[in-house]
Amino acid sequence: MRPKIEKYYPLIPVYVAYLVMFLIGRTMPWMWQMVALLAFYCAIGQAFNIFLGLTGYVDFGYVAFMALGTYGMALGITAFYQTGLGIGIIFIGLLLGVVMATLLSLAVGSVALRLRGAYFAIATIGVNEGFRYFVEGAKIWGGSEGMIFSRELKEAFGAEMASQLSTLWADVAVFIIAVVAAFVTIYYMRGKIGYALTALREDEDAAKVMGINVTKYKIIAFITSAAFAGLIGAMAWALKLTYVFPPDVFKIHYTIECIIVVLLGGAGTLLGPVVGGLIYAFSKYWLAVVAPGFQLLAPIIIAIIMAFPEGIMGLVKRRAKGTGWEKYII
């Protein structure tokens, strides 16, 4: 029997990658924005992987959870900025964001997760679009004009601190979220949940006959993944940009990016979202600088997927089997 701590060794390369990124960003201030962008994609990949990677289900409405996280933070700040709670309002905002994202995922999951594969994917597209038009049409939370709260933020914290929150702490928080999401991923993978999810991903009917309550485990993965999305939305979008605009936060484009990051790196692997996030975000950033206007990103992604059908870490994992690296890679 392997000792317990060894089960968590695969976190080492993940955390080393985050640490290196963080240190580069802190020591070279001109790099911080790029590093923050990389961390954002790693974090959403890590969060989305908990659902897509572990269950094999594709949620095309994933961005709705990030959107709700963003609204949660916006509501928290605008409602409590005069209370003098200081940094407390950020935590209230985070909490609201997570709770709202979790509630939506529970509502969507308990209905849509009874559907299989493609039917689930189709249902979730509807949820995202539906929710966006609901917000706009019912004129809740500022309706189609969204919410701008830079003034409230300045009033609560002062100009200096408000700017610090947006340009530094929001990004640092994204790093922390990515670190926690990676831990939760491996905690699930190594536990009963992981075995149940593997079984249902491979063969749902056989899993049921083995005594696995598949709907329950799918919902657990779905909610966890959604809660992280809410956190990321609250930090990387609301606190960083200090506004929410429905067409931006409900953009299906971000869901697609999440899917690309996870598949590029290797769905269901721990390091995959980090590798995928780095490659995707770096290519996107760098190509916009060196070859603006040329649509090179798509061909690059297609080429990588062709070369690594199971994602980059999928192949690496297979190669590492039986070697000394095995226990660090999953």
Binding site: M1, K192, Y195, E202, A206, K208, G268
Partner: protein, 243 residues
């Protein structure tokens, strides 16, 4: 276990028609019947994949007709599939461990304990050398063995085997029959084995044989008696249509 007047229809097709049967603890039963005679549907009704239109499924005195499959398995109903359904990306050991983890009634078997249980059954079935191989890469026969180990790890009281011996070499079949009988007796498992036409396995294995034909139970009798029943010979060899 008891089936009371089970009828299962798919649209206009009656797959299982008014079948009743009883299985006692530790019994070894063979279900025989040609393709399409309703054997697999019967298994699916017992394990909860389908719910019957009519009739009741009673297990250890409890009516489980409306229980979903994931709640039946822990009560002690294990099964293997006609076409093996391994959890492909998981290793043999992990596959068997999944059976131990979720298929027992207490539901409190930890991951590490399950892996130990898995090791035990893998050794029993003789797949030690393939323990860490992804189950998707096994040969069909190995997959079947793995499925049996996976089902045994659930500590079933009733084990339903679907064509477990199809495609196996005759000498393997003999070994398999011996093995299954031994486990069934040792762990007091009622085993139902279903085959299309491997009588060789049935003769050596079953105490009682149930012959299915067109969704109905044709014969239910001790092995020797069942095999010499003229109705069985009819089903298998046919008879001139004018007769």
């Amino acid at each position: 276990m008891e089936l009371e007047n089970i009828t299962k229809r798919f649209g206009g097709l009656v797959a299982v028609n008014d079948v009743s049967l009883q299985i006692e603890a530790g019994e070894l039963i063979g279900i025989v019947g040609p393709n399409g005679s309703g054997k697999t549907t019967l298994y699916n009704v017992i394990s909860g994949v389908y719910s019957p239109e009519e009739g009741r499924v009673i297990f250890q005195g409890k009516d489980i007709t409306n229980l979903p499959p994931y709640r039946r398995a822990p009560l002690g109903i294990g099964r293997t599939f006609q076409i093996p359904r391994p959890f492909k990306s998981a290793s043999v050991r992990e596959n068997v461990a999944i059976g131990a983890m979720f298929g027992t009634l207490s539901g409190k078997v930890s991951v590490d304990e399950s892996l130990e249980i898995a090791d035990h059954y893998i050794e029993l079935i003789g797949l030690q050398t393939k323990k860490d191989t992804p189950s998707g890469t096994l040969t069909p026969t190995e997959k079947k063995l793995m499925e049996i180990a996976r089902a045994l790890a659930m500590k079933p009281k009733l084990l339903l085997m679907d064509e477990a011996m199809a495609g196996m070499h005759p000498s393997d079949i003999d070994n398999m029959v011996k093995f299954i009988k031994k486990v069934g007796v040792e762990e007091n498992i009622a085993i139902v084995s279903m085959v299309e036409h491997i009588m060789r396995a049935m003769v050596g294995f079953a105490q009682r044989i149930i012959v299915m034909h067109r969704g109905a139970k044709l014969v239910d009798a001790p092995t020797a008696e069942a095999l010499s029943d003229p109705k069985v010979i009819d089903v298998y060899l046919g008879r001139p249509s004018g007769d």
